[in-house]
Homo-oligomer: 276 residues x 4
């Protein structure tokens, strides 16, 4: 049979380029830095920033990265992605299969609000640039959201928390590090506008962790896709921990009721002072 | 139709427990620590260690965690998991789908050697505990590996590097931090035994990154499953970065030849001194 | 520590219902039919239709289901989902991991056009219902597609075939079975309108398999999500076959160039006549 | 920077071959048969057999394929893979993400017994070939399984059914079609040996669907990996149906209790007689 005609056509398309990592025998450069020199000198969060953006972060941005990554590392046993990972684990599936199943449990209603929230902020800031105050721009965006029935809006409200402690702390850290600018100011303005909107009386729609991450990533100049990636990266340890716990503590092939569990870990304790 | 008979049977099995994360409205405790207090105080690597093991690491172990996580963050454009992620990305798949596809590209020949390597080390140390020297135990294990045709052995050799710079540096850091004990000593002994084995003359079988991670996790008391999880966690940023680059730089639906690319990122540069 | 407060809240939400499959010990009813009675009496394609729609298909619709499922079963070694599956396979990953990686390689540019194409047809038919001819409605939709830069439109054109043999045959079978109605007529009208559009001279934009499946599913009353599911279901055997071949014929950890292969299977042969 | 040194090395490895599907513009050959000629002439089950084995099945084997594929198409709402798919669906994930998450929920305790069961049968048949009766060989294998603590053995017993109706019917169909030979005879002999074993009194360990599929695939000459693939292929429609039902009938982000549902579909009904 004649040579497959896909060959010449496809071949023409195969020259491509990457600027992430250079490899030659016994040498690995991550964005130009020798990987073995980075080891022991930068934290994982700084290396993640370097890989996703092309440069090492400033110390402030590095601390912010760590705070964002820590904030989303786990949210207990019941979120659907965690249940997906545990349902894979109970059949004896591999760690990688459980983690992948968990990641596939991110959808537009879970961990998927960052891109949409960023878009709303961009729209609000565009309105503000026409000469309006952030408060007026936020009122306008709130009105659009109500009219479109887009309530809760992406980045606001939480099915469980009335005040998302991760969002509060993340915005506080950004403020301390003086990296909160117009994106953060706009989400705060939008939170107020939603609280004052006549159609939303009785609703509690505080900034949630997706909204805080979207705003802060905007203020520090990270593209929307990076914010999206950060949420996935940060939750992988949580998915792995639940898969490991499922296989270590429970018997195989059990029916997993997300509301049938108790917490039997350590009671509340203080973070040791020696930590930076 | 009568109520489904699965109900009573399954219900009996649903009480279960978790000791990872406690959630109540407006409060999240990670292994007992308020998550918002951890934010800004611990690095992501420390939080990963806390979640996977139950305690915050000592400063030395914290630095080792970061070094292990950084070491495996990316290995260029060509490893099969990266190609799996890029092939998903070229069809316009979502970030989460690309990352999950990449994780599924970990198999026994890629990122899968940690568990098997740990088992070989445990066998070697068991022999040593019968009164033999580590060198003699390593010679015995090398002989078994050759007889079983298990060459390259898990944790040794690399299809590309003759001296894996990540493994060298990781073992050096462990030594500086004084956490290298019998597991590390045994993999070094096994590396020598393999080099001296008559049947392996002409083969280069240095300790690779899987072997170094397996040994160090053994020495610091981490269970084998944690080492397995660490490799997956550490590569997720790399998979995300390649998926993003594919969608940003290349046209959709291209045939991706793993050997058809050039690197066009920054040339080699030094890690700034200010870093710890 | 007090019982987890998620319990009562979550419990209230847990009553739910399914009308797909009833299970009791030693009995399984698929949409009401005993599964063991279906075995040996219905084809897999008929059982798929039953499960997805609630009823067994008529003989004509059953044959159409089989034709749709067969049409998309494989498309050679190079499509990105197949490459994702093969890249997982070369690392020694499990069959289920390879197949899942392949499915994740479906994106908006591959196997993802069915939903968008159905929407365009629905818009065209809505225009026709205002009293216009299908030809005029198609001309209007073609104009919108050109203005929106949505070229090639979902369901039209193919990166490889100038005349997709699967689409041609599927539409022919639908015609023979007399199940081609306004959806099919509209995609044909749109194909003509695209061919006549001044801005698209020199472009070849024939109905492709996604477009044919979208139209026929519309004409036989299947919801858009079912068409989406059918494409995934139908390709799983192809992904499995490529993963098996990769692990049987090739050495592990190879760099897989999608344009570097030759076909060495049987030369062209006729389908035996005895088949229905 | 010098050209990436991976290029020449990798390039040498890229010539490879496939014998599954030949593609040229406007032509697709599946194992040599024009795909468009197969459409309308062969059932999906026959096309799956053709793709996985290289030849069209005989009419008997074709019917057996359909029976195996139908047997595993769904098993209600509660199996862990189905729960994984539903947990992805409740977050608004895409159909392909839900199905992939479900497939990742196959593990050694679910859908993973086929390979291990086939191995036990092969061992039993090897014993029989030394001159022993199948009954004696089965008694020996049963003894080994009890000693190894491998109870329930792969392919036997079910957490829910005391007599798996799918296995019973599949073995009956194989008998009617006269394709049940030594593999099937051995699993029957092993079922009896397990029932008579003194250490297993009070246990019910009937042949389950995994065991029946493993045996029949052995008797008709299918490699073990094909049996493994068949179970995955056959369940994909079930996973898709549950994901669709979850998104159509339930509200997003719900806690899904596997034992909290009722069946509200059609009551038991007879399969229409006109079916072959």
């Amino acid at each position: 049979m004649a040579p497959d005609p896909t060959t010449p056509k496809a071949a023409a398309a195969t020259r491509w380029a990457t600027d992430l990592t250079y490899i030659e025998p016994n040498k690995i450069l991550l964005r130009g830095y020798p990987l073995d020199e980075l080891m022991g000198r930068v934290h994982f969060g700084e290396a993640i920033y370097l890989l996703l953006t092309g440069d090492l972060p400033s110390p402030s941005i590095g601390r912010l990265m760590d705070a964002m990554l820590v904030s989303f590392i786990d949210h207990g046993a019941t979120p659907p992605p965690t249940m997906a990972a545990r349902n894979a684990a109970t059949t004896g599936a591999s760690m990688r299969g459980c983690v992948a199943a968990g990641i596939l449990g991110f959808g537009k209603y879970y961990g998927g609000d960052t891109l949409a929230c960023r878009q709303r902020i961009d729209e609000g800031l565009a309105i503000a640039r026409t000469g309006k105050s952030l408060a007026d721009a936020a009122t306008e965006v709130a009105e659009q959201l109500v009219l479109a029935g887009d309530i809760p809006p992406p980045g606001f409200g939480h099915r469980f928390h009335t005040r998302d402690p991760r969002a509060v702390r993340l915005l506080q850290i950004a403020h301390e590090l003086e990296v909160d600018h117009e994106y953060t100011q706009f989400v705060r303005a939008l939170e107020h506008a939603l609280a004052r909107h006549p159609a939303l009386q009785g609703r509690t729609l505080p900034i949630n962790i997706d909204g805080a991450v979207a705003a802060i990533c905007g203020d520090v100049g990270l593209p929307p896709e990076v914010a999206d990636a950060l949420l996935i990266i940060s939750r992988v340890p949580g998915l792995a921990a639940h898969a490991m716990e499922e296989q270590r503590r429970e018997s195989p092939m059990r029916a997993i009721d997300p509301s049938g569990y108790t917490y039997d870990g350590p009671t509340e304790r203080r973070v040791p002072d020696r930590r930076k």
